[in-house]
């Protein structure tokens, strides 16, 4: 295997610029190339492993039918050639205003991404790549499509270097600072022409193992467990155990039927406990692996998250792109006083399920609730100077829920009377329950509108706090249902460019209109200033 030296050498900016001026001297005075390079050669090894893995099945089939051996060989050669061609032709160039990625031999393609459109530059590394010292670079733009381009893979040093230059060049690309440096300059021409950036890294939060353990243990999703169970079932099925398992199950059922009731209940409870315990253990392990060593730092105006045990991820998030910050507490975490902090950014790929499961929107996996609130100024600068006057929703909310309870009870009684007659009157219990729920919802619902931020807090069992910068508001919608129209209540929904909308339920119509007017006018002013 060739040593990775050439790729790294090609990336030092001094060499780069001289190479640039030598090869493309006519264009050199138009575009300054800050960095240029190829993929790391070790990617060929990874591709080889990939190709081998894909060939395994045809090879096994080849034992039965020799034609498959030919197919396997063809597939292998095809895979490898395409990998080599891709490796040889792919070249990325970072200029002052854009990132260019050129690839392809027959089907040539050059992608140009303007620097001020680049939302994030994320790093990802699987365990195999990490062993080889490689990272995958994910370029995200605000297009809403999530990952715009992938560079798979660069050496870690190259990747860090590229990110550094890119982040340094971005303000220049937006502000169009005149370039003054001569290409012959040694050292760091890329950063020399920029306003001096503070290189201080502020540690915003570092997750302790205890926090991650608690996060895993309080993760109420059973999906991890379900996946494990399904995997076990699949394995058993493929190994041909299912028949035996069915036999065991029938004898087990007979054995259960012979037990006395008390013992049966105990066995069932024990089984339930086992299931839950297994779920908790798997989700704890999953969380430990996913968020191992989670750290979020603030450099200049850019937040950076690093985490992961097997697949390491590094994700940058410019603070200016934060559209909404939420502090979420499920009931268990609320009891223990813990909270999760999430941030939606423009173009965040919510629709891409893979990204959310990888925890892209998580800013702090778990921390004490008051710490979470104390961290807000790091995510939303200026919030520390904002005074939030909290308002409740309208008290008519209680009437609305009571009316809805009455309607529900009426329907339930009407539907069941012909069968259970007077017993149907038990449905009347719905009314007080709904009313009490309404009171609880009203007590826990609050909203506040400051000059630059707008906040909402709700939840009777769990608790959610959401904060939206008013200058990020895209549109405001007021909705009134049937009962709402009768009582003069309205829901207000605030749309931002990324993530899901924020909805304040059950305001008085007057409040809702006032807030709608305020927010949309502030948004209009902010939009004007953006230009």
């Amino acid at each position: 295997m060739p040593p990775p030296a050439p790729a790294e050498g090609a990336l030092t900016p001094g060499d780069e610029l001289s190479a640039e001026s030598a090869t493309e001297s006519p264009a050199a005075d138009e575009v300054i190339v800050l960095a240029r390079g190829h993929l790391h050669p070790a990617i060929l090894l990874l591709r080889l492993i990939d190709a081998l893995r894909q060939v395994i099945l045809p090879l096994i089939l080849g034992l039965i039918q020799p034609w498959f051996l030919v197919a396997a060989l063809a597939l292998f050669v095809l895979q490898l050639t395409s990998a080599i061609v891709r490796y040889l032709t792919l070249e990325y160039t970072l200029t002052q205003d854009e990132l260019r990625i050129r690839e392809g031999l027959l089907h040539r393609q050059e992608r140009r991404i303007p620097l001020d459109r680049i939302q994030d530059l994320g790093f990802e590394s699987t365990i195999l790549r990490r062993a080889l010292g490689l990272v995958v670079i994910l370029v995200e733009t605000a297009s809403g499509r999530g990952v715009e381009a992938r560079l798979d893979s660069l050496s870690r040093a190259d990747a860090e270097h590229l990110r550094e230059i890119l982040l340094a060049a971005r303000p220049a690309a937006t502000a169009k600072i005149a370039r003054s440096d001569d290409p012959a300059g040694q050292g760091e021409p890329a950063t020399a022409q920029l306003p001096p950036e503070p290189e201080v890294e502020w540690l915003v939060h570092r997750s302790t193992t205890r926090e991650l353990l608690v996060r895993g243990a309080t993760d109420m999703r059973m999906s991890a467990f379900a996946v494990t169970g399904y995997a076990a079932y699949e394995l058993a099925n493929q190994l041909g155990f299912i028949g035996q398992i069915a036999g065991i199950a029938s004898t087990f059922r007979d054995w259960l039927a012979s037990l006395p009731t008390v013992l049966l209940l105990a066995v069932l409870a024990g089984a339930m406990f086992l299931v839950v315990a297994l779920g908790v253990i798997t989700s704890t392990l999953g969380n430990l692996v996913q968020f191992h060593g989670f750290k979020i730092v603030l450099t200049g105006d850019v937040l950076q998250r690093r985490y992961g045990l097997l697949t390491t991820r590094q994700k940058t998030l410019p603070r200016a792109r934060v559209q909404r910050v939420t502090i979420e507490q499920t009931w268990l975490r609320r009891l223990l006083g813990f909270a999760v902090v999430k941030a939606d950014s423009a173009g965040g790929s919510r629709t891409d399920g893979q990204d959310t499961s990888a925890g892209w929107d998580v800013v702090v996996p778990l921390t004490k609730a008051d710490t979470a609130h104390a961290l807000l100024p790091a995510l939303l600068p200026g919030i520390e100077n904002t005074y939030f006057a909290w308002h409740h929703g309208s008290r008519k909310l209680v009437i609305r829920t009571a009316v809805q309870g009455c309607l529900l009870a009426g329907v339930a009684i009407a539907a069941t009377w012909w069968r259970i007659e007077a017993n149907a009157l038990f449905a009347l219990l719905i009314i007080p329950i709904w009313t009490v729920l309404g009171v609880l919802v009203w007590r826990n619902l609050g909203w506040a509108s400051g000059e630059e931020f707008f906040a909402l807090q709700h939840g009777i069992i769990g608790k959610t706090f959401a904060c939206v910068p008013t200058k990020k508001v895209q549109a405001v919608v007021i909705r009134q249902g049937i009962v709402g129209q009768l009582l003069g209540l309205a829901d207000l929904t605030v749309y931002v460019a990324g993530g899901s909308p924020t909805c304040i339920p059950d305001l008085t119509l007057r409040d809702a209109r006032q807030l709608c007017c305020d927010l949309s006018q502030r948004a209009a002013i902010a939009a004007e200033q953006d230009w």
Binding site: R395, Q474, A527
Partner: protein
Amino acid sequence: MTATCGHARRMTAPESPRPPQRLAARVVPYWIFGDGMTSIVLTGLAWFLGRPWLADNWDQWSPALDNVLLGLCLGSLSMALLIPPLNYARWRYGFVDDLLLMRYGILFVEERAVPVRRMQHVDLVRGPIERLFGLATLVVFTAGNEGSAFRVPGLPVDVARELRDRIVQMRGDGRL
């Protein structure tokens, strides 16, 4: 029951702007014709094909069920005739400063406010039946994935074009 949580500041605050414009009146026949066509066809199928078939093949068919079916058919027909005028009566839209406001809905009322400068692009959509009636739908998109499209249906074509041009103009020079 008076207005609760009476914060003096918000009580005296000026009334928020209302959208001033109405849709073109011929949107009512368009809605009846366009949206009502489905229910007319379905009703016809149910009454003239479904009822005889059921009466022949289902031994529990009774005059009571016959009446129920009649009720359903008449109900859906009258809905197709009644909803468009009500909807038309409720629909308001218009520009106030540089906000595009809309207010519409019968059972569920929505009020929407979109700053013109937040709009990403503007579409004029004209379906075949819409063209027959000389109407157009203005669709406005803001950034974001969810709930980013805002529709104003039933505009006369020239009004819709004028609105579009106005949005383009308000957004700045040809940057749309």
